[in-house]
């Protein structure tokens, strides 16, 4: 099983900004309600697979999205 990472944001604005950026780059991702044991900063998080993580983070940094990552 490949590890799944959660990208956690402080605001909904950043979640959507991230979603749109990843969509545009054809990087698979899923928006899910933030798991309680991860954090409750924003109600939504992005779930992403390890194989595309580095690529995704690169894009988000370029876009100036505020986030942090967590492994479940």
């Amino acid at each position: 099983m490949s590890a799944e990472f959660f990208i956690i944001f402080q605001s909904t604005h950043d979640v959507i900004k991230a979603k749109k950026a990843l969509q545009k780059a054809y990087i698979a991702h899923e928006i899910i309600p933030t798991p309680k044991k991860v954090s409750a900063e924003c109600g939504m998080s992005l779930k992403i697979e390890k194989t595309v993580l580095d690529q995704a983070l690169e894009i988000l940094r370029l876009k100036g999205v505020l986030f942090r990552i967590d492994l479940l």
Partner: protein, 383 residues
């Protein structure tokens, strides 16, 4: 009916505005941020998109610096109350709408701030030098002024004023109620610190929408605190934009309509819309000036104004003219003081006020001709 009251609110709106609102109402639903399901995500995306369209229109680098409000009045109150501290000094002008004047006068009344007024000339034009004269002598925290007057349509030189403000370590708050969507506004090139706008005029959105842009590096206190869908574990208001200043459920259906309106403006281009409006304005002014007894207010130079025109007919109360235009000619315009008593004093039309015509991109030359004929006939009745 001929609608010439676009400075009060624009009519008609493009059909896409209602279509976007209907789409939200019937197909999207959902609240932003609060939940993670598809309907909530779609609503959040819709709000995000409107923010991005507005950022594009005003050349805002980071759309998170733009918060939604219910109108420019709320935006101005948020900026004025959230930015000014006790002992601060403020410059404003004699052309301001009460949505600037009243929040400022209130803070003055309770002893929180001191106000300096830059007097405009009879055409409603303010001179940047007059701002510098005050800045040289006084420590000024904020300069607040409208980009264009809602009485005379006079456009203020905000870029020059913002530059001077910067030179003296001061800040600018611009009321773009009459320019957003109708005249170029570029917060980056103009060097603005804060921009307040309303959604229901030239941005073509529904009533109950507006916003405030706050440059990065400027912090303001929220008007309200409450739920934001973020940082829910904390009982303290988050400091992150836009959540910090957007407590409570947004007017999502209105924001959907506003997004479609702004998209419409972007697709047609502000300068194209301005061209249509100013062609009509030019013909109206040129011919109204020929009618005996008509007095026009505002700048002669069409480049120094937006499509708002105030006039009076000798011997008439403005409300009498507006009533006649409405009753006998089906022409809608607005008489009186237009919530801007100080502006009317400046142009010499206080306390009776003026009759205001405000043209939009959906008006046409026939309507202008009908109104000119009507004014001509009305002016003759009292000869």
């Amino acid at each position: 009916m001929i609608y010439f009251d676009n400075a009060a609110t624009s009519f008609p709106k493009p059909k896409v505005v209602m279509a976007a609102m209907e789409n939200y109402f019937f197909n999207i639903g959902g609240n932003t941020g609060r939940s993670g399901h598809k309907m909530a995500i779609e609503a959040s995306e819709l709000v995000f998109d409107t923010r991005e369209y507005l950022a594009e229109l005003f050349n805002i680098k980071d759309s998170a610096r733009m918060v939604f409000t219910k109108n420019v009045t709320e935006s101005l109150n948020l900026a004025i109350n959230g930015f000014l501290k006790k002992g601060d000094q403020v410059i404003t002008t004699s052309m301001e709408h009460n949505s600037v004047m009243r929040p400022l006068r209130y803070l003055e009344q309770i002893g929180k701030i001191k106000i300096f007024i830059v007097q405009a000339n009879q055409e409603g034009i303010v001179d940047p030098v007059a701002f510098e004269d005050i800045l040289r002598k006084e420590k000024i925290k904020l300069i607040v002024l409208s980009h264009a007057s809602n009485v005379t349509g006079t456009v203020a030189p905000i870029s020059a004023i913002a530059q001077i403000a910067k030179n003296y370590g001061s800040h600018t708050l611009i009321d773009a109620a009459q320019t957003a969507g109708a005249y170029p506004v570029d917060v980056t090139a103009d060097g603005l610190d804060m921009l307040a706008f309303t959604g229901h005029k030239a941005l073509m959105g529904p009533q109950g929408t507006g916003g405030l842009y706050i440059r990065e590096g400027i912090e303001i206190e929220p008007l309200m605190r409450g739920g934001t869908g973020s940082n829910s574990e904390r009982e303290i208001q988050p400091e992150l934009m836009p959540d910090q200043l957007e407590s409570g459920t947004l007017n999502i259906i209105g924001i959907a309509g506003l997004g479609a309106g702004v998209k419409y403006v972007l697709e047609h281009g502000v300068m194209k819309i301005r061209q249509i409006e100013m062609d009509l304005t030019e013909i109206f002014i040129r011919n109204a000036a020929k009618i005996a007894g008509v007095r026009l207010y505002g700048p002669q130079d069409i480049n120094k104004r937006v499509s708002v025109v105030s006039l009076n007919i000798f011997g008439y109360d403005p409300s009498e003219v507006a009533y006649t235009l409405d009753r006998d000619y089906d022409i809608a315009c607005r008489p009186g003081l237009h919530c801007a008593p100080s502006a009317h004093k400046t142009i010499g039309a206080f306390p009776q006020g003026t009759i205001r015509f405000a043209f939009g991109p959906f008006n046409n030359i026939e309507e202008i001709n009908i109104s000119l004929k009507a004014l001509n006939q009305i002016s003759k009745r009292k000869e």
